[in-house]
Symmetry: C2
Subunit: 434 residues, 2 copies
């Protein structure tokens, strides 16, 4: 088979990592792909000292790469949803396959890009868009192809997990750890994407679409960030036998599909509860296989490059397959996708962790439990500490039974109206993931 | 695309599970495969009440299935290496693709079967042969295709892991838990395959061959079982911050490839140290991606069926690909496999846990540490308990630095010759898996 020629656009962290991995592991990669993979052209506005490109064909106009008749596969590592999307469209229109690590572009424009690619008979591969080096797209789309997926839950933002881990292990507060994450280069100067769950939502919508066989519906995801989590919540969670993780959760139910990103208490005995630092993990529940978990680095130059190059090899292997035998972009053939309704958050059922500040006087706990009980919510566990000296207020922590979000919010409103309760009631959802 | 017709041979646990999964999830499976998958014929010597086959075309002669001109893919779920191998050979010779869950057959006869299949232009798919429902073959062969694999370590026998978990959690001894595992149906009447590591060795040789790109070399694996582990070892390991797991380990070094199955102390902070009960997990270290872990059920009807059906879908997708674009059976193109030397166990370096019974008198510990120090081995941790009343002997537990196995065994011989030491010194290897 003649060598495959790739054009790589974007010479940032992942771009230079990809070139370095392709060069270093050329023997293994060629032996696995069944052919040599050659970097035909690089499109980059500037050089990157992490990777010597002096002997490469580098052009400053990335669109030139998508028009280069010698290029078989365009690797898009620009990021963002404007120039990157134009580049991918041009590559497709020129009959080139595309490999991308761009989660925002796939999550927001995947439906139209996949349709465009299918019309041209080319493939868009995007393993690197979710959970970095973990081959989770492949596992869901191929490895678990026998299963009805019931639900999945993932730690799919390393920055957020690093922050929560530091808060738990060292009792530091959110703003302090975020500052460190920014200094370490884990978090962007504008950390909103990471800590408010938008990055996780991009990844979740991709995973959910493959799991359930539905078009991408990014705008319908419920997203709640971690900036309101306090160190004491992590401590109380541990006392109760739980860990707090920022999870992306997708679940199929009779009402449709739940799509939500929010901080979540998980029993500490679950493996995923013990995934710390910048690592990612996705737990998937299939009806035949049961629970499987996939763990690894969710970001970084070479972990992401690992997924980009695996996609390259996959695309090469699909070259001679008839269109009908190619793996559909979302796993299910495009005419077999189902537009499942997305369940509104108010109708989602979970258990809850509640933390409130209460006056230390007889009957307070009773007042609170009465409100919950009147709403049909029972209490699974309580922590009430003695007030510190000189204080008359105490922290009251409750774990509730499973309830609809709207029931719980109504109960919280009534609790906050009680004379004995000061300020707001903090609530965090609880999932057993069993 | 016209429906794909499969012939399924063997109607035991996995066979009936496969039929049940194919029937129940036909919509999802067809949508993912891009075509309908039909059970054309079943070959089974007897029926199985777990699965109604009254409306199926069942034959008692399994070889009839391999000769049936209407069958595209033969699923071999007979087990063993005699009849199963003949069946697979006949299927290949008749130009049929094969899907199998048979680890012994692949580990022992994979090289010749793969060559036979390649000569005929057909595929043998065997995801179900290793770690049940976990798509680990796919992850290693495709998902991590960009990487030089440095090492992998797996809990790949659920029975052994169940036994060690019960011993740890309940302080029960080996024989007692083994009996329970047999009653529960986890362990065979002859438990040798599970507890002596032969089953794990079958799986390890397959994983290692794919990881490093080498022919299968089952006869060269070092294997040590778990029957000599005592409940006190599990307790002492915990005191030292470790767990004991029965691991299959493959590692590439300058001397060649290490292939070994043995009980291993792992730091408790590693995720894999916390994989309990019958669950399996494989930790893989790639040079680009870093560590990734794959976790799930390693056995059982539907978890194994999940892998069998995923292979079916994969085989269907490869139908129209040119031979050069098909995934090689061991990941690397067959002419790119390397016959790496297997490192003899005496030249393998690990740290060690040592447990011995010593007389409780001054200077004993010093005598032991002197022997080790003279051999160039240093001590990382010690546990010495006070003797129980009326006893003059104490248990002495040491964690050593890394040393070659032959050095360690020489040191043990000298320690056992000391007057202060009673009986034999138990030793268990320690791996940091960092």
């Amino acid at each position: 088979m003649k060598p495959v020629k790739v054009g790589l656009c974007g010479l940032g962290t992942v771009g230079s990592g990809t070139i370095n991995v392709l060069r270093r592991n050329m023997r293994e990669i060629s032996a696995r792909a069944g052919t040599e993979i050659i970097i035909e052209q690089i499109g980059a506005r500037r050089d990157n000292s992490a990777c010597d490109t002096s002997s490469e064909n580098v052009v400053r106009d990335i669109f030139e790469v998508a028009r280069n008749p010698d290029v078989d596969i365009v690797i898009e590592l620009i990021g963002g949803t404007t120039v990157a999307k134009e580049l991918v469209e041009l590559a497709i229109d020129n009959g080139k396959h595309v490999v991308t690590a761009n989660k925002a572009m796939i999550a927001e424009f995947g439906n139209e890009l996949f349709a465009r690619a299918e019309a041209k008979g080319v493939t868009i591969a995007y393993e690197a868009a979710v959970a970095g080096g973990i081959p989770i797209i492949k596992a869901l789309r191929e490895g678990l192809a026998a299963n009805k997926i019931e639900w999945l839950a993932g730690i799919i933002n390393g920055t957020g997990n690093f922050i929560l881990t530091e808060m738990k292990d060292k009792g530091r507060d959110f703003a302090d750890v975020l500052k460190e994450a920014q200094d370490l280069g884990y978090a962007e100067a504008d950390p909103t994407f990471d800590v408010e769950g938008i990055d996780a939502a991009h990844k979740l919508v991709i995973l959910a679409s493959i799991a359930f066989g539905m078009p991408l519906q990014f705008d319908k995801i419920f997203t709640e960030g971690i900036s309101t989590i306090e160190p004491q919540d992590l401590t109380y969670a541990q006392e109760l036998g739980y860990r707090i993780k920022h999870l992306g959760i997708a679940r199929q139910s009779d009402q449709g599909v739940e799509l939500r990103v929010h901080p979540t208490l998980i029993p500490e005995k679950r493996l995923i509860a013990n995934v710390d630092g910048v690592m990612n993990a996705v737990l998937v529940k299939g009806d035949a296989v049961g629970p499987t978990l996939y763990y690894g680095p969710g970001a970084g130059a070479e972990p992401t490059a690992s997924a980009v190059v695996a996609d390259l090899v996959d695309v090469v292997r699909s070259f001679t397959a008839a269109q009908e035998n190619k793996i559909a972009h979302l796993g299910f053939a495009s005419d077999a996708l189902t537009e499942f309704p997305i369940v509104p958050m108010s109708d989602v059922e979970t258990a809850y962790y509640l933390r409130m500040t209460a006056e230390d006087r007889p009957g307070t706990l009773n007042q609170v439990t009465k409100v919950l009980s009147d709403t049909g919510i029972s209490i699974e566990a309580v922590i009430q500490k003695e007030p510190t000296s000189g204080e008359s207020a105490v922290s009251l922590i409750l774990l509730t039974s499973r309830a609809l979000e709207k029931q719980l919010l109504a109960a919280i409103e009534s609790i906050e109206a009680l004379d004995e309760i000061e300020g707001q009631v903090a609530h965090i959802r609880v999932e057993s993931l069993g």
